[in-house]
Amino acid sequence: MRKRLPGFLLAAPAWAWLAVFFVAPVGMVVWFSFGYKPSIFATQATDRLSFDRYAEVFSPTFFATFQNTLWVGVVGTVLCFLIGLPVAYWMAVKAPPSRRGLLVALVMVPFWTNFLVRTLGWQVILSPDGWLSTALQGIGFEPLAILNTRGAVLLGVVYNYLPLMILPLFVAFDRVNGPLREASKDLGAGKWTTFFRITLPLAQPGIIAGVLLVFIPLMGDYITATVLGGAKGNMVGQLVASQFQTAQNWALGSAMAVVLIIVILATVAVGAAIVWLVTLPIRASHRLVIGAPATAPASASIHEEVAA
């Protein structure tokens, strides 16, 4: 406990930052969500507190939007993970070490342009009269009909969020050093066993970071879905934004935001529980507990005396 104190103090600026820019705004949103919109000219009031806004939130349209958001969020995150995992592994383990810096820079290239601009770029590429569609028609294909579908939304999601998955995974794989993998092979494990028993478990912090970095912002994102999914791209983020900006009903918008936060937390918890449960029998089969010896071997106790 005494050792932790200096670390805690060193982290004080970080805690202050967290308090001012995270805890305070979220606290206010929660507070507003119990209020109401008193008149068309006011955004919110909290002199009367109730759960009424939450009752308002759970309308059938909201449910459909929520379902859609959750679907895009989960499927998008899973896709990013499935694509990002081999890419990050290849970058960290297989690619020549001298090229790794360049590869990381390439992964970051999309970040050099604005989020909205690069999503609009995909709209141009995917539109039925865009250059891709024209080129495909030139070699005898039907005009592209992918824009305003869930497929287009997922494409945009993968494109926009993949780097956020790859980078933490890359760092994690890079940290599982070569000798550990070699030791595994030396002890008779093939490359798949080595991956699942050594590399992947040791990369766990990176996996968690990557999944959260993609899933959480994705659940609040509506630009990707609106630009590429059109009317089919209804996302909760959009509803929240329209309550705050168009309808000027901060109370209802706050209630929606709170529900969104709760759903994100619940989904993460359920996901973690599923992974934990699925891997439970595998982990149990590898566990080996020996326990303390009934009597210490004579040689060991002699050894201890010598050391003492």
Binding site: S184, T193, H286, L288, I290
Partner: protein, 391 residues
């Protein structure tokens, strides 16, 4: 008769399995390049079953590369490696009957000590009860039973070393490869582990291939020592031979300490005439007229105060001034300056060490029997080159 001959001939043309006992390692003219540099250069070495052999040499001479080719982490560019009589070229590490103790131990940090040791057995689908028993045995062997359920990060360096040993030996390999396994330990622990490793090896009868750059370690543990230089083996012999009859100046300099004298070969190849001494040996091994190296170990050099007025240059004596005296415990070490470019080290057992002080004029002498003569050699050519003292 005829059939027997045919079978024999056939056996000889194939790689004749059975001729090499389990645990034998044959390295046959193996070469390994990294880009333009050659890490291992047509190296040939036969390691007998149950032998404790050390690969000894300075950093960068190709020891690790050789070991990694036996383990299967690198493939030779040329040549053949056979383990227990069977070529292992193209055989992945996980199918070789060989285990490695890695330099930095490479213990799996997310598994307990027992789980680390069990890992290899789990790969072979060993029944659970048997895994438990064998893990316990291996941990007892390494005296690590008490720490079975700890994580490797909760262990000291020496304890991690023991776990790494148990993790390799539990698989009962016929060959165990060790890459500078004691390098990270402090001196006392290292010497303790040297003894233990040697005992363990002779008890188990497993072939040990031990890589080290520490000549003391190699001398104290090995049945035979292969001294490596630039990817080749300079000498392969037991410790006594390597120490008393080094095959080259390089070996002489690397194993133990030497005083080197460089000069013209005279007296029909039996002596070297250097600036500060005429060094005479007992055998004629060098072509007369060329340059040669004479070597004398510090423990063969006796030293006394220089009282004789005449500075006549008798053979195997050298005059100079004492510039350092150090107490090494059982011996006293004297550092003598012979000239600007040459100094000499003498060591005497403490009880019979002469009382001399820094600045005294001294005369050093040695017997012709203790002189080794070598052709001039790049690695030890600087006159007065003395290998770093052994710690």
């Amino acid at each position: 008769m005829t059939t027997a001959t045919t079978t024999e001939a056939e056996a000889a043309t194939t790689s004749s399995p059975g001729a090499e006992a389990p645990g034998t390692v044959v390295i046959d003219a193996v070469t390994k390049h990294y880009g333009d540099s050659t890490a291992v250069d047509r190296l040939s070495l036969t390691i007998e079953a149950g032998e404790f052999i050390s690969l000894l040499g300075p950093s960068g001479c190709g020891k690790t590369t050789t070991l990694r080719m036996i383990a299967g982490f690198e493939e030779p560019d040329d040549g053949d490696i056979r383990v227990s009589g069977r070529s292992v070229l193209g055989v992945p590490p996980y199918r070789r009957d060989v285990n490695t103790v890695f330099q930095a131990y490479a213990l799996f940090p997310h598994m307990s000590v027992a789980e680390n040791v069990a890992y290899g057995l789990q790969q072979k689908r060993t029944p659970k009860a048997e895994i438990h028993d064998r893990v316990v045995d291996a941990l007892d062997l390494a005296q690590m039973r008490r720490f079975a359920d700890r994580k490797p990060t909760q262990l000291s360096g020496g304890q991690q070393q023991r776990v790494a040993l148990a993790r390799a030996l539990v698989n009962r390999p016929s060959v165990l490869l060790l890459d500078e396994p004691l390098g990270a330990l402090d001196r006392q622990l290292r010497e303790e582990m040297q003894l233990e490793l040697k005992l363990l090896q002779s008890r188990l009868g497993v072939t040990f291939v031990f890589v080290t750059h520490d000549q003391g370690e190699a001398l104290s543990m090995s049945d035979r020592i292969a001294i490596m230089r630039s990817g080749r083996i300079e000498q392969l012999a037991d410790a006594d031979t390597v120490y008393a009859r080094p095959a080259s100046a390089y070996v002489a300099a690397f194993v133990g300490q030497q005083n080197f004298f460089s000069g013209t070969v005279v007296e029909g190849g039996t002596a070297v005439d250097s600036t500060h001494a005429l060094v005479r040996g007992t055998s004629a091994g060098l072509p007369a007229g060329g340059t040669g190296l004479a070597a004398v170990r510090p423990e063969f050099v006796s030293i006394e105060a220089d009282v004789a007025a005449d500075a006549s240059g008798a053979a195997n004596t050298a005059r100079g001034s004492l510039i350092g005296v150090s107490h090494l415990g059982e011996t006293m070490q004297y550092l003598v300056r012979l000239g600007d470019d040459q100094s000499l080290i003498a060591r005497r057992p403490s009880p019979e060490a002469p009382q001399l002080s820094v600045g005294d004029a001294v005369v050093c002498s040695w017997r012709a029997e203790s002189v080794l003569l070598f052709p001039a050699d790049d690695a030890a050519s600087a006159s007065g080159y003395v290998a770093p003292p052994t710690v």
